[in-house]
């Protein structure tokens, strides 16, 4: 991953968030408070403005770091600090000027650790971790197997989407959905869904 790919990923994510905002709103209305889509859209609009204003020679890690800081400053709620801090950690862990798949997988694993440290969620709690963890694991396996970034990102996107779908039968144990207890069963988690958008955007940007 280089600076151009990171910028492309953020643009693709912003476009995906905008396109899927009604779906995120519907999912979040069912088990949260219905603002996940609008909050993320507001955040990624600000992210694009911030990263597009960076000098062209900005290192890839600094681009993701800037995106993270911007999300923290503009989104609010739980997903602002969680996605924002994850991107900051990911950015800080990426070597310059270019990162290979192994580097990217390790940096995203560090980002996932930040999400889990702040939010306290483990896989199975019906949160973004349920999509993020399998996506990172898929990237790690693909890196080990020597796959290209295009192939690896495609596998990660599939794993994230499967992880998001697999939140449907789960009972939420973290976040606002946890207040519903058993009534949260039968709904797909909005955070896991937006995480799947993030990894699908990476796959599209990498040419899959």
């Amino acid at each position: 991953m280089d600076t151009a790919l990171a910028l492309g990923w953020l643009h693709a994510t912003a476009a995906a968030v905008e396109q899927h905002e009604p779906e995120l709103t519907a999912l979040d209305s069912a088990i949260g408070d219905g603002d996940h889509g609008s909050n993320l859209r507001r955040g990624f609009t600000a992210v694009l403005a911030a990263v597009d204003a960076l000098p062209p020679d900005t290192p890839v890690g600094a681009v993701l770091g800037k995106a993270g800081t911007t999300l923290i400053s503009t989104v609010g709620g739980a997903c602002g600090p969680l996605y924002g801090s994850a991107l900051r950690t990911t950015g800080a862990a990426l070597p310059t000027p270019k990162a290979d798949i192994t580097d990217l997988a390790a940096a995203l694993r560090a980002g996932l650790s930040t999400i889990q440290r702040l939010g306290g969620a483990v896989p199975g709690d019906k949160t973004m971790v349920d999509a993020f963890e399998p996506a990172v694991a898929a990237l790690e396996r693909a890196a080990f197997d020597g796959f290209s970034l295009r192939e690896a990102a495609a596998l990660a996107a599939e794993a994230a989407e499967r992880g998001a779908r697999d939140t449907v039968p789960l009972e939420a144990r973290k976040g606002r959905a946890s207040y519903l207890g058993p009534r949260s069963i039968g709904h797909q988690d909005p955070g896991a869904t937006s995480t799947a958008l993030l990894f699908r955007a990476l796959a599209r940007t990498a040419g899959a």
């Binding site: 603002d35 739980a78 600090p81 976040g175 606002r176 207040y179 519903l180």
Partner: protein, 331 residues
């Protein structure tokens, strides 16, 4: 959706303009989205800062002023404020004696206040946090997000603010807030859901003849659905739910808050208060102080919440201490 707004996107900015125009005794930093007690930092006084999603007015901006909050940070509707707002509030109010955050227990609020406290610590400012978690509709467990912060926030902000105004240390201010929180339990009933402007439709569907018991203040559904009944029966259910999770017993004194959720007439809130008063009297619990009205709302949700605070002499003294804010005044 019929709402008195200009656009869903400008709700918070337009409301801040109105607060600034209506309350010249407050300083409203519209760019930083912070509402401040006028006059800047008070040397030697602990700054009490709260915040949370918009849509719960008068919480929190309505409690800024002498005797309560030094600053309030409103987020977008039902969305916690961001760390930048909280840092701006700290910089505008820190008088060198420390800062105490009052945080309602929601994942988003906790995270944003925590990030702000970490950033403030890098600037050498120590921030203590009082977590409000009074809502007994949610099971308190290490496996969940824990009980939510609701009506008790008013009592916590009053108690912490009173100690800060009296020259207490940061530790004493936080301890007063924690005392008020530990003594308080709440439960809410919704008769109709709230509509978030950006969503444009109600957060959940509730049939005409049903109520949502244990509802949250963000339109999140509650513990269960039940048939609509007389105020007397709903009040009994709510009192029972609270007392099952409260140390209040016969002979105790209590501060009672019957709080409207936004779209319920005061007339009905007084009917509920009358029923609650009779139910507590039957149990030998004496009402020492009372508050009836809209204090922690949920946009246009209809219904009420009940907060019972077990009151000792210390809490009553703090409750009665002078305060001068838009929504709560004590001579």
């Amino acid at each position: 959706m019929k709402k008195l707004i200009n656009s869903p996107e400008s709700v918070l900015d337009d409301a801040l303009a109105g607060i600034a125009a209506a309350h010249p005794e407050l300083t409203v930093d519209r760019a930083a989205r912070v509402i401040l007690r006028a006059g800047g930092p008070r040397p030697g006084k602990v700054a009490v800062i709260s915040g949370g999603g918009s849509g719960h007015e008068p919480l929190h901006a309505g409690f800024v002023g002498p005797g309560m909050l030094d600053a309030a940070c409103p987020g977008e509707v039902f969305t916690s404020p961001v760390p930048d707002q909280l840092l701006a509030a700290i910089r505008a109010t820190d008088g060198g004696a420390g800062v105490v955050f009052v945080v309602k227990n929601y994942t988003g609020d906790v995270l944003n206040f925590q990030l702000a406290a970490e950033l403030a610590a890098e600037d050498g400012i120590e921030v203590r946090t009082v977590l409000v978690n009074d809502d007994v509709a949610v099971k308190d467990s290490t496996w969940t997000a824990g009980r939510r912060g609701t009506g008790a926030t008013v009592v916590v902000e009053k108690a912490a603010g009173a100690v800060a105004e009296g020259g207490g240390t940061a530790a004493e201010v936080a301890a007063a807030g924690q005392l008020a929180n530990a003594a308080s339990r709440s439960f809410a009933v919704a008769l109709s859901p709230a509509t978030v402007p950006a969503a444009g439709r109600p957060g959940f569907d509730l049939p005409q003849d049903e109520v949502e018991l244990g509802v949250g203040i963000h339109g999140e559904p509650g513990r269960r659905r039940a048939p609509m009944r007389a105020a007397r029966e709903l009040a009994a259910e709510v009192v029972d739910a609270i007392l099952a999770e409260h140390t209040l017993t016969a002979g105790d004194e209590t501060i009672v808050l019957v709080n409207g959720l936004g779209a319920t007439p005061l007339l009905e809130l007084y009917i509920v208060f009358g029923e609650v008063s009779a139910l507590l009297a039957e149990r030998g619990i004496r009402i020492a102080r009372s508050l009836v009205g809209n204090y922690v709302t949920s946009l246009d949700m209809a219904g009420f919440s009940l907060t019972l605070t077990k009151a000792d002499a210390r809490l009553l003294e703090l409750w009665d201490a002078p305060a001068s804010t838009p929504a709560l005044r004590r001579p």
